[in-house]
Subunit: 366 residues, 4 copies
């Protein structure tokens, strides 16, 4: 099978680096276009990037020249598939330009997640929401001079992704009424340079800007129902406490949950063990087991469990009764793999399976 | 004023070291007796102890010889006041022996906290519970050969203390119906050597043995009502998630709370600002302001706020509405000062004010 | 005694914060003027500063308004004594302006340390070098419109200060021929935000810009001889390896040394114990014992020993034979107290004793 | 090719776990026997071990029953090849018993490293030293009831291994006269539980028991010359400063070196680039490039570089002139892979190539 060309917007940041790491040997996608801000455009990737991952920067990528982060001028070679790892403010401006240019923008940014015709997707949870793209203006009708067929698909906040996997399994079987979530989040979630070492060594910061708000709204869209032209949010309540801790990678979440129907310990474990909606689809980035339950009394732990399923599994542990709601448990997932770049790539794999990367060839003329 | 002699059981451990640090210039108490396990008894304190605090080991203490941790043989010089920093298993055996010998045992251990005639006290919260000591057998009647008048007083778990201060202020004004608590606790709470560095560097451990259980039961005894011969527990519900993080000192707690009466943001802040039951008593270890509220968006933080009130204040921040219960906020307190040794010393200061250290002189004979 | 007014340039940075912390109860100096960059000028200190120390921001300071960092327009109230905590590039431009305006600029910057008529001073080591200020143009002759009598005095790099104390004691008694120094430096030395947490958590960075060069040249000026109008550098050799480690405060240095005359273990310990050139001068910031030797096999350690002498002592340990040079040992000092703000304040205290703050009153007119 | 059976002594410790991780998919060796202390013998591996690595415990190993750590009683199934991950005190007693029983003991312990007929080997450096085994009594003549042919081969201390790779390349080309080494070592080097978190969070410990001594003597045996029945130590001088830092894995070493012949920067880099004595041997654990030089100004770093060559490469950086000796540079290697378990496995791979695992079949009878 021929590999499809892909481009990366924001290629030098922490999430951009993960895209490169995860895509550099991807069986379906091949990086052919890297873009960065004006400051870096024109440099080689190796010169512009402070590579912070513990696997080597692939040689081919190191030598690639960073392009300006605009679709114009690159139309000839602009890939159909654009992975976007941009800050929300920049994404708000740039992503629509690439969608207008006919690209499938697979975005990790928060800019458009809650827009009604933009799918916010975790494939195991709500792949059916991807149909929303057909409602997007960019896809339906293009501006003169641009290519039709573009769209934006988003993945959620790094905390929401790990959490929503075990939640979906419970929602399907028992229904969810309310949730308490307290997070302990890794510093890589803040990008680079991100959190100052003086702020986090021997310390905890009980605040992450907009994080509690994002978690509270994104979970209900993810668990919501596709209604043709919009998503009906799940009716439930969630309160979040978000904290930054001195961990490099891996977000931990303490969860208490009230279900709509009674569930036993065994039934909950079974719901998680049986949850595998992508089984049999052979998507390269899908973990064999999206939810791994660890029976040890003191697991999951970020350093030991974040790489389960090549960083794509959500590890759950410590299921026990809650004296206030019904049950409590702990969830861990890798925040820059499952929680960011890996999530976007899995979205792209599903879109590929659905045939959503076939270009409508005709350039729209006035 | 003459200083009273005091002894320390378990003097070489982390809490024992804090007792020594905090008592070495105490205006009311003077350390005259140090005891340790058989392995250390007979050595000087300096030889037996790996001093881990960042202030120097006081010279006078360094040269003191550690005594066996039994009251016998030391009756002549055994101080009336014994601070006990023992593991629960050892405390269960040793503390009653010292109470039988006529000592006021001011214990930091969990062994007797929930026993019905043993006061579990944080002076700002429930100093009236101290009257329970008059019901203790050791105090009422001594065995032949022993001194009457002994008793045991306990302070709570390191997490419960910091939390119960802001809770008491709310309980008095508005009543408490239910509580979520998610903790991020410092490694010093596990003693020395305690948590292995391989377990906590770049990591979080979502489990601390018995901690959730202690927190859930101790808070209700602390907020309970003194009924002459027992404490009537507060009727409320609490669920706890306890985690260990890579912080040296200072326990953080994320709290969601449902009150019995409606309270505005301003009313809650006022309740905390006005809370100062020990004001005017001039107790050496009582902080000027037991609850300090910080208005900054990202506070409290362990490294910056744990030493407020010389480590005896509870710092609160981020009061905001909770979408599930009524309000949520963050609490921080120093786990080995306010949460352990300082708590016990403050209990002893209150007992001194109440005249509970006057020995009943007569030796009981058969 | 009346307290002298002092100002602080660069008041909001990490070293500026230490100046405020250490000066806020200083018996000789009173902060009356705070300056910051254009971005912050006009704001209150509390609004402009992210206070990162673990003692509270003094209330009086919190409310002070930050002034522009230029002497003009503030002549009426510009203090004679200016503590400067500026980056080298900015110091190079600003410090001469304040010296021209008649101020005694007590600088922590590297900008002028190696200039021949600028004293680079650690008072216990080379207070006699302060006479160099009389050669400075600013002090001898002022420009029209400015006040004569201004000068610049500098303290060394944070690594050089802790090291030079034990070295001076050895140089005096035995002479120094060569030195190997390998450092492990705290993140606070890089200011705020400084080192990114992703760079230092679970990591070591074996490079600090210009640090090895500074250490190698400053030590020889500090140990050099005052020759009326310049300093004759000490003739010796030093090689440095500088590393950043995950420590908040406190620089560690592993040292191997070759002496010019043979010295026994006891003689070296005696040289350090006897070293106290400021004894009897009653300078508020001078530690009782500038060099503290710790006999424990595993000391000094940053977390336990950096606050010795209120952060102004240099702690030495592990003196043992070196199989290549003569002896090896470990040195620790607090990098933002002894190594920065405290060093500058001690310089100012010596200058006060020497009468170098008496203003020459006359304004120079054309 | 049939895989050879191997056993592991001390299988539950940190190095034992690395043996299991690295051997579980090894093409030449298959784990068939695991032994542990009396306390653990009889349990399954999963029950006895606190698995601390970030890859899952292999299922087959999890279910294996731990055997007593003595050769008797297991003769029938005792593998010829025994990897030993024992503390030195225990190794001193146990390893000879297994050699007596005819086993090839591939030891990571320090117990026999400096014994004259025991090879201390890093294959790229001194594989010829392996011939020493033929001099070992266990190999030449066995006791009645035991199998002849046993022997002990050791690998060096975790610090010596990473260092000796770049040193060997220099020794061959230019000769080594003297060396300064200052280390910053990871906590995993101390085993589990090892270093207490209270000792290392925000801290450095400038002492590791016996480490400086081991480093100083092992390097010279490794670089020494095989003389038929003993090793002639390299004539050179080395002084070491060993420190523990808050890093999980990866030992950093700052090195200053004086060579016997002059060498330019380019010649040294070439010596390192060309150094690959195992090239072409196709040993499964040998890295493609044993010495990787990184030209970035701030590399190597433990978190980013320890996994180069699957944890088997030594990364060097910052080669620059030394003002005291000739050159200085920084070395990094993974302390529990290249520095321990991986080193032993590579030794075994070389022994396999040399045919040193062919059992002499005959049981010795009296």
């Amino acid at each position: 099978m021929e590999r499809r060309n892909v481009g990366i917007l924001g290629a030098t940041g922490m999430v951009g680096q993960r895209f490169i790491q995860l895509l550099s040997n991807h069986p379906w996608f091949e990086i052919t276009w890297l873009a960065a801000s004006d400051r870096s455009a024109g440099k080689t990737y190796a010169d512009a990037c402070r590579w912070k991952l513990d696997t080597p920067l692939p040689k081919r990528i190191a030598g690639m020249t960073l392009q300006p982060n605009v679709p114009e001028g690159a139309v000839g070679e602009l890939p159909k598939i654009i992975f976007a790892a941009l800050d929300a403010d920049i994404a708000r401006d740039l992503e629509p330009k690439f969608a207008s240019a006919g690209c499938a923008v697979i975005s990790n940014s928060s800019a458009f997640r809650m827009v009604s015709d933009v799918p916010l997707v975790v494939p195991e949870v709500n792949a059916d929401h991807l149909s929303l793209i057909e409602k997007q203006t960019w896809r339906r009708e293009a501006q003169p001079g641009s290519h039709p067929g573009g769209y934006i698909v988003t993945n959620p906040n790094c905390c929401a992704i790990g959490l929503v996997l075990p939640l979906k399994a419970l929602e399907e079987k028992f229904g969810i009424e309310s949730l308490f979530v307290s997070t302990m989040q890794a510093v890589s979630g803040a990008g680079y340079p991100g959190v100052a070492s003086l702020d986090i060594l021997g310390n905890v910061i009980p605040f992450i800007k907009n994080e509690e708000e994002k978690l509270q709204e994104e979970v209900f869209k993810l668990l919501g129902a596709y209604k043709g032209d919009h998503i009906e949010m799940l009716e439930a309540r969630l309160t979040a406490h978000c904290n930054r801790v001195a961990v490099e990678d891996g977000h931990m979440e303490c969860v208490s949950i009230k279900l709509r129907k009674p569930a036993t310990h065994e039934e909950i474990l079974a719901a998680w063990a049986d949850f595998n909606p992508l089984a049999g689809q052979h998507l390269p980035s899908a973990p064999d087991q999206p939810i791994e339950y660890d029976h040890a009394i003191d697991r999951p732990q970020p350093r030991l469990d974040r790489m389960r399923g090549k960083g794509m599994a959500s590890t759950v542990g410590r299921l026990r009764p809650c004296s206030l709601l019904d049950w409590k448990f702990v969830v861990l997932s890798h925040n820059t793999i499952r929680g960011a770049a890996g999530a976007a790539i899995l979205n792209a794999e599903v879109l590929a399976r659905l045939g959503k990367f076939e270009s409508k060839k005709k350039l729209v003329t006035a």
